[in-house]
């Protein structure tokens, strides 16, 4: 399968992929700690963006509640670690289970009762906000004052417990991003991927052609929410603090999707490219407006830039770059 993907890609695309991968692998040795911290956030958004894109970009189901899956993954693994000493390498399975169960519950309600499009998106928002309110009242999880992971001075990196240096977190999220990319590329070029795209394009026509809509939409939600939940585990152990009032918010969900929207919904490189454009852009604007006591200015310019990109490249940046760089494959395969 990997062989098929490589075979169907153009030499230029493969060269580009190799260069980018190599650069990312050695980046921690070349950049200072500030740039590294930005790269870490870039990769986090590339990862969760990829997971979200699987649902809308591949299967055509719009979620505006992916913060729920991040939060469930984060809270589950963090609580298991803090309260019971369960290491995240084990807690991750519970985290995935929580996210997938929530995703399947939302999916079941939406798909069984034919709640489509924006109404489905509203359902995802409702679940995320609602769960946030519940967690806000569970004192065992720190309620509104937040859940904190113990931060000790680490002598060495402890991968199993996800305790260590930013460089370790960088490589973990890089590995996750690479894994999500490989998985999505494999899925997209499989029966599952073709069925998803058929559903995305025209679900009645897909159904008439033998596609069981409910089953394939549920698979999409399950994989997307599970992947996102894994991102939540990383998030909890990287940031060490979780607050319901920010975690479950729709603004978090929007941040997850914006990279894909800017990079190109439905493409494999879109979420990654989008994260590499948006996160640094936000950082630059923060730096530029630093000390100016103009709180709204950053958000305004950021929104302005995003709107401009979406306006001038409505398909996202990736399809455009793809053409400009001449990365078209010999045949078949997905970009």
């Amino acid at each position: 399968m990997i062989a098929r993907v490589i075979e169907s890609a153009s030499p230029r695309a493969l060269a580009l992929l190799a260069v980018v991968t190599a650069a990312l692998l050695i980046a921690p040795y070349l950049v200072d700690s500030y740039v590294l911290s930005v790269l870490i956030i870039v990769l986090y958004f590339a990862y969760v963006g990829q997971a979200w894109n699987l649902m809308l970009g591949f299967a055509g189901q719009l979620s505006l509640g992916h913060a729920l899956f991040v939060s469930l993954g984060a809270y589950t693994s963090a609580a298991l670690f803090i309260k019971f000493g369960v290491p995240p390498v084990i807690g991750i399975f519970a985290a995935i289970a929580m996210a997938v169960v929530a995703g399947c519950l939302i999916g079941y309600l939406g798909f069984r009762f034919s709640i489509r499009g924006v109404y489905f998106a509203l359902l995802t928002i409702a679940f995320a906000e609602f769960t946030g309110i519940i967690v806000d009242h569970i004192s065992w999880l720190g309620a509104s004052s937040g859940l904190f992971l113990p931060v000790k001075n680490q002598q060495s990196n402890d991968l199993l417990n996800l305790r260590g240096s930013p460089t370790m977190f960088y490589y973990v999220i890089l590995a996750l991003t690479g894994f999500a990319f490989a998985l999505c590329s494999w899925l997209l070029n499989s029966k599952l991927g073709l069925y998803w795209q058929a559903i995305r394009e025209d679900q009645e026509a897909a159904e008439a052609s033998g596609v069981p809509l409910f089953r394939y939409k549920m698979i999409a939600v399950a994989i997307s929410s599970g992947l996102t939940g894994i991102g939540g585990v990383w998030y909890a152990f990287y940031y060490n603090n979780l607050f319901p009032e920010t975690m479950f918010k729709t603004s978090q969900s929007v941040e997850i999707i914006l990279g894909s929207v800017v990079g190109g919904v439905g493409t494999l490189f879109g979420p990654i490219l989008g994260a590499f454009v948006l996160t640094p852009l936000g950082e630059i604007l923060t730096a530029a407006t630093d000390g100016m006591h103009l709180d709204g200015v950053k958000s305004f310019f950021w929104g302005f830039c995003v709107a401009a990109i979406v306006l001038f490249r409505p398909q996202g940046l990736w399809p455009w770059i793809y053409d400009v760089l001449g990365l078209a494959p010999k045949k078949e395969g997905k970009r």
Binding site: K191, Q197, A208
Partner: protein, 250 residues
């Protein structure tokens, strides 16, 4: 070619007393007919007569208010459209519904995945079906870049790729030039002769109806007003009065 449709006589369709109401409008009213395995029947009638609605009820896209549909003697009641497709009923849409972002091969491969999990096999089969329908040189194109008649062919290809026993064609020859119509007719004749594929077609192009059908069914205001051999039906005074008019038989 590799796209040989499942052989053997199968695909017998029995429609028993089906009706469909939309608010105050009775679109289909207590319609019964059957298509014997291996035969080609045409369903004709003026616009709004209930032909497409009848197809939708057979294919499971709409639930009949009364009656039921049987394929080879087995009721299709309660099955979803994808299950009816896998049971052996392939259908096209009058208003074409291609998967716009997918290539023609991918469009048709979706159909072939109804009987195989192997994507490479589905693609190979899809290529064969596209060749058969004269779209061989446009395999990697996208639906938006081909003509409407070609998109109608694509509808047929996607339905055929599911290896149906019964093929439902909803005005696939509308808008074709006479030579294209003849080519399409020849394809259906050959499929029917070689593989015993049962076909029910909705068609306004009388040239195709007369060339293909063993029997013709006529719907008018949701009621079945005639069911017989083509030459009988076209002489039926009620049919002539309601719909056809002499010029249709030029």
């Amino acid at each position: 070619m590799s796209a040989s449709v499942a052989a053997g006589s199968a695909g017998a369709l029995t429609v028993r007393n089906i009706s469909k109401r939309f608010g105050g409008l009775v679109a289909v009213s207590e319609v019964s007919f059957s298509v014997a395995a291996g035969e080609i029947h045409a369903l004709i009638g003026p616009n709004g007569a209930g032909k497409t609605t009848t197809f939708n009820m057979i294919a499971g896209a709409q639930l009949p208010d009364t009656g039921d549909v049987l394929l080879d003697g087995v009721s299709l009641a309660g099955l979803r459209p994808d299950q009816i497709c896998r049971a052996g009923v392939g259908r096209t849409f009058q208003i074409v519904r291609p998967f716009n972002e997918l290539t023609l091969v991918e469009n048709v491969a979706v159909g072939a995945l109804a009987w195989t999990d192997d994507l490479a096999e589905a693609r190979d089969y899809a290529r064969g079906v596209l060749e058969l329908l004269g779209l061989g040189d446009k395999k990697e194109a996208r639906p938006s870049s081909i003509t409407l008649p070609d998109r109608k062919c694509l509808e047929v290809a996607r339905a055929l790729a599911t290896k149906p026993k019964l093929l439902l064609l909803d005005e696939v020859m509308a808008g074709l030039r006479p030579t294209e119509t003849d080519r399409m007719v020849a394809i259906f004749k050959k499929l029917n002769a070689d593989t015993g594929l049962t076909i029910l077609l909705i068609e306004h192009v009388m040239r195709a109806v007369m060339a293909l059908s063993h029997r013709v069914l006529v719907l008018n205001y949701g009621r079945l007003i005639a069911d017989g051999k083509p030459e009988e039906v076209t002489r039926d005074p009620e049919v002539l009065a309601c719909y056809l008019g002499a010029e249709a038989f030029d």
